[in-house]
């Protein structure tokens, strides 16, 4: 058997290849976030000061909703033709699949964030008063918080009849602490205040939930 890292790598490459060919996740995410940016920019006309206050919440809520679209797609393609069963009967470790799926989602959501952030900056005339590089750290930790739980709960709702409804119902409540930390950290950096506490909270959240998800994924994968 290939080492787990090798299986993670080939599974990730396979997922990237499938997404490149179908563009299912990235297209729906982009259109969704674009709509959020445009609709909100028409609804409000905030001053630069007000923008700094609301942008953190707006950006992360938009990314959270958009990420759900991608997360629903993650396992949907494994259900078509029951391909997941081929993985389950193989000697490949379940966590290699989980990590590959999480990394894949991390890449998709990061691409979305990279494309959408300039639009947010332009539409809301954003300028950070604090160290802007910290926003990158918040983005990485925040995105990981969304995708690790999202990938896990998407797998959990895989066999439910209304899985597209079930995913947000499971994911949103558990993401509240992370979302709070992401929003507060972003707002603090934009306003030139200290964000250390929120960044540490976010990192701790990531560590705890990554560990829990890795411990439980095999049970979720083999549940009937």
């Amino acid at each position: 058997m290939s080492p787990p890292t090798g299986i993670t790598r080939v599974t990730l490459l396979k997922d990237l290849r499938l997404e490149w060919r179908s563009k299912d996740a990235i297209n729906s995410m982009l259109f969704f976030s674009l709509l959020v940016v445009v609709v909100f920019s028409f609804s409000f006309d905030p001053s630069a000061e007000e923008s700094r206050q609301i942008a953190g919440g707006l950006v992360w809520v938009a990314f959270l909703f958009a990420a759900v679209v991608a997360l629903n797609q993650t396992w949907a393609r494994e259900l078509r033709n029951q391909v997941l069963d081929a993985y389950r009967v193989s000697p490949a470790p379940p966590n290699s699949l989980f990590i590959a799926k999480t990394l894949g989602n991390f890449i998709f959501v990061s691409v979305l964030e990279t494309l959408m952030t300039p639009l947010f900056i332009v539409f809301y005339r954003l300028r950070a008063l604090g160290p802007a590089w910290q926003l990158l750290l918040v983005a990485v930790l925040g995105t990981w918080a969304l995708v690790i739980n999202g990938t896990f709960f998407a797998a959990m709702s895989l066999r439910t009849r209304s899985r597209e409804i079930m995913l947000p119902l499971l994911l949103f409540p558990i993401s509240i602490p992370a979302l709070l930390a992401m929003v507060q950290a972003t707002t603090a950096i934009l306003n030139g205040e200290g964000a250390r506490f929120w960044i540490v909270l976010l990192a701790t959240y990531d560590l705890v939930f990554t560990t829990v998800c890795l411990l439980l994924f095999e049970t979720v994968l083999n549940a009937e």
Partner: protein, 229 residues
């Protein structure tokens, strides 16, 4: 009394329930190696559930399954090939890309092995069309190639001939008979039993979640009732 040491697969009082419905109701049987078994029965007889339980995809509600002397599927999964009714292939990738991916899950890095099994099922390894554009028959054959990829000792095949034309199905039966002659044990769940006449070593008849008879010829045993009545 079942001798788990000599039989390749032994199943003891296997019960599988889905909620209140019992798909398998106390299946007890042993199967020796190097034989081709055709599992027959009406819809809902429990054939697919039995195969999925042997493949480790369904956990038994009670009872025991022992494959190659192990009751833990994970220990012997390298020795088992499984083909389901759906293709278990990614529609957006070509047959070769699919097989290369699944080969890596079994630690097979060689492209040659993938080409070998694709040729064995009568397809062209250089076909670049995605599997989603294959005919149903081609998909079935590619699915069989995937199951053969890891050179398994035990092959579990669910409806391998459905929607396959007679010529291709006959070719698949010949391939499976050759595979059996190499010492592999093959289980085929099918409604097209006549295709396996002459190739199968034993016909295993199921009804209402139980094995009701085993025959050497394609003849429903008298002990089995007619579930259509």
């Amino acid at each position: 009394m079942i001798d788990t040491k000599t039989s390749t697969i032994s199943v003891t009082n296997l019960i599988k329930q889905f909620g209140r419905f019992a798909a398998l109701r106390g299946v007890t049987a042993e199967f020796s190696g190097g034989k081709l078994y055709a599992i027959l029965g009406d819809n809902g007889a429990g054939k697919t559930t039995l195969l999925r339980t042997l493949a480790g995809l369904n956990q038994p509600s009670s009872g025991e399954v022992s494959i190659l002397g192990s009751s833990k599927f994970h220990d012997i999964c390298q020795q088992v090939g499984y083909m389901a009714h759906p293709s278990l292939l990614y529609d957006e990738m070509s047959g070769m890309e699919n097989l290369e991916y699944f080969a890596r899950l079994y630690g097979i890095a060689s492209r040659t092995r993938c080409e070998e099994v694709i040729r064995a099922v009568g397809l062209d390894p250089d076909l670049i069309r995605p599997v989603g554009q294959y005919s149903q028959g081609m998909r079935q054959r590619m699915s069989l190639a995937r199951a053969l990829l890891n050179d398994p000792k035990i092959l579990l095949l669910d409806e391998p001939f459905s929607n396959v034309d007679l010529h291709s199905a006959t070719g698949m039966v010949q391939l499976l008979a050759r595979t059996r002659d190499e010492g592999k044990t093959i289980f085929i769940v099918t409604h097209q039993a006549s295709l396996l006449e002459g190739a199968a070593d034993e016909f295993v008849w199921m009804e209402f979640g139980k094995i009701v008879g085993r025959t050497r010829e394609l003849k429903r045993p008298e002990t089995a009732g007619d579930s259509t009545k």
